[in-house]
Symmetry: C4
Subunit: 252 residues, 4 copies
């Protein structure tokens, strides 16, 4: 913990909360989903995490007020059908080095999540396929195979051994550290090309989370962004097809 600083704004008392992680990653699917869910549930920030493993800098907002590179912890209570408590790990940064990512996750596990008696961990991410999916699926990875039936009932697909490259960063490490500490943990990954920020994949992932938590959220903001990107990619495709035709005409 030498150079990880956790600054608490409040210390909420929660009943075996679910942890949901959504830090930057492939297609930013995990981050968009977690940010949207936390915002929809009016989750409240209760701590910020500063570390030597984030970039050594501050960013300015429109008021010229500085913000140091950090991750943030939010909580929401009595969420969904089962009135569960939820903790969110959100932010603009992951550790900048391999061992920095490990140290950050370990410090958070030891100092925060174990003390809060987290009951289950969902890490959110993207599963980059390099292909555009019309109906992106949500893939899963678990620390115990007994978790699979429940997740499948809520719309999660399991594809043996995939993603073949494993799961990198906080989304993978929090699973491994959950397992070490006997906390059930799953990574939920929205199928994405991985080429751009993918709101459509985030909607699919969010639908799975709504099912798991027993929620029915207004996703119109995400849907609008998703449609705009669909239109843009359709135009790009149309343009490319026309270009090809023109080129063929020119050659012919």
């Amino acid at each position: 913990m030498a150079n990880t600083t956790i600054k608490y704004i409040s210390k909420p008392v929660l009943r075996r909360p679910i942890l949901i992680e959504g830090l930057p990653g492939i297609g930013n699917v995990g981050k968009i989903t977690a940010d949207f869910l936390a915002s929809s549930l009016k989750a409240e920030k209760f701590a910020s995490i500063y570390s030597e493993h984030f970039p050594p800098q501050v960013m300015l907002d429109d008021e010229c007020v500085v913000h140091m590179a950090c991750n943030d912890l939010y909580f929401a209570q009595n969420v969904g059908k089962n009135k569960v408590d939820v903790v969110f790990l959100l932010g603009e940064y992951q550790g900048t080095t391999a061992n920095g990512q490990y140290v950050l996750c370990k410090d958070l596990m030891d100092e925060v999540f174990l003390r809060m008696d987290v009951s289950v961990i969902y890490t959110l991410g993207g599963y980059g396929t390099g292909l555009m999916a019309d109906k992106p699926r949500t893939f899963g990875a678990v620390t115990k195979s007994s978790m699979k039936t429940f997740l499948e009932e809520n719309g999660v697909f399991f594809s043996p051994g995939e993603p073949g490259a494993g799961i990198l960063g906080a989304s993978g490490l929090l699973l491994g550290m959950g397992d070490i500490n006997d906390i059930d943990a799953a990574c939920l990954m929205g199928e994405t090309s991985g080429y751009f920020v993918d709101h459509k994949s985030a909607i699919a992932l969010l639908t799975v989370l709504e099912s798991i938590l027993g929620l029915d959220l207004d996703k119109s903001d995400l849907e609008l962004k998703s449609h705009q990107i669909d239109e843009l990619t359709a135009k790009v495709k149309e343009y490319e097809v026309n270009q090809k035709k023109e080129n063929l005409g020119y050659i012919g």
Copy 2:
């Protein structure tokens, strides 16, 4: 603190001092300004900081006496109209790695600045625009928007969200760590092309600090250097214009 060594020469008793940081950076504006101000106020060195995060070397002076890479702390008492105490963080080096910069600032904050009960932090730097400014401005970034009115009254400009790349190194980190520890902090940045050591920008920044501290310093040394650089750049410009004319004549 494992490998940060603070060697005290004296332990001055100060009343809630202002901290002014001026380490190397863009156009060296912050360093020139802080060095000049400390020298003008006859500030006294009271500690040196050695670290594994500085280059592993010693430099020789004209007496062949070696000096290990370090940062230094100076103090001045009863400064300006309001008779405030000032601590300076000066030196030729910043940490050579991203996490080294963080660790150095954190160690100084925890071991020195918090113990000294620093009341406010001014970090000095340059705001690199890539353009020569006839009348360089001083830009500001703050930890609390309530600090802006006072700074604007003393000649600081605030440009929403700028610098867009944020503030790197000690000048940024000390702001973030000030904020974590509830110390008001501002970065004051002299507008500079960033292409050379910029004494003109330092004069502008110094004028802001004189106003803040209620000082009237003899800046003739800085002004001489600034004029010399102005003349040099004027000659370079003149030469370029003549070259262009000749080239046009040649073409014509």
Copy 3:
């Protein structure tokens, strides 16, 4: 030990066990040999080692169950003629950095092997020659020259000063750290081209270990794989010879 986590499944009580290390390396000779020996002896996993020095990721198996990058400890009791206890250090990873490899070995030595009162260490590896050997030998390196006679009697060759580049990673470091802690240690290296995973070299190395431990194992699985590779390389050679003839024909 800050960021090395040893998670025990059980704490077997062993009588001055022999430690056998077989982590990934040249031709994977050490890893194949140690994995096969541990499996043949039905060794039981008793601990997993997690570290910031392994890649920050989890891999998925065919059940989509995640496994964090780690090393594992196994034990077997009453092995061979002399009924010795054996501890195995196995895994898919070595530390990803130079100092990470050192720290991992030191933590294991201090926290596990010294506490278990390890009597002797055999680290297993490959000795890359760049040449295909029909009958690969097993080379040795020791912490005390008095160990050589026993090993030579069991089929180990000693070639003065070789390998000239020394022994890298866990296979080398555990020898050095054994020596520091007055534990006899030897590295046994199967001669290998180093160009592919070398089961033939592993069989040779295994034969030496059988002799040392007084074992007679069923090596048919390894022999099958070795023959398959022999056939494959024979075909590649034949093809190359034919190509050469054709080329000469073409020139002639």
Copy 4:
């Protein structure tokens, strides 16, 4: 000290010993000189230093006995005219990273040299000029200018501000850390081209040390090697001159 291990063979009781450092560096001048001096004085090894900052490997000797990367400490008593005690820091390695070099020197200073009450530090090195010197001089750098007269009387030259690049690695850091701990320290640098291992420069540096310590050593071994290199370089020069003549003849 987490990952620096000092293994003592004996704990000699010395009276305010002089420390002489000679680790690898420019032209290996410092290392040759220190190794030769320690050997001539029949200095006795009393400790080895192991560290995560040395390469993670062992080397083999002609007996196939492994040696882990380390530095060694030797001592000699009642040396020279003044019967002083001397400690030597010798070895084949320096730390492989910038902060590793710092940490190693700091650990040695804190754990060994301060406890032994070292009275003065001489670090030995080469001063690379890029030129062959017929009569190489020995240059000096000191922590206090008051040390210069004594060193000049013993044949050391002081050239203001040189070497301009400062002094890197252990030879520099031990000076800086000596200074921090109020131990007089000097770096003595044999003038060398820096292009090869320079025994001639080592003889010059050794002559200075003989004068300082009041010694008269048999340097014939070093002189033989120095002559051999002189002859070799003379032949290379002759060859180059002849080549040049031939080339001119060819052109003419």
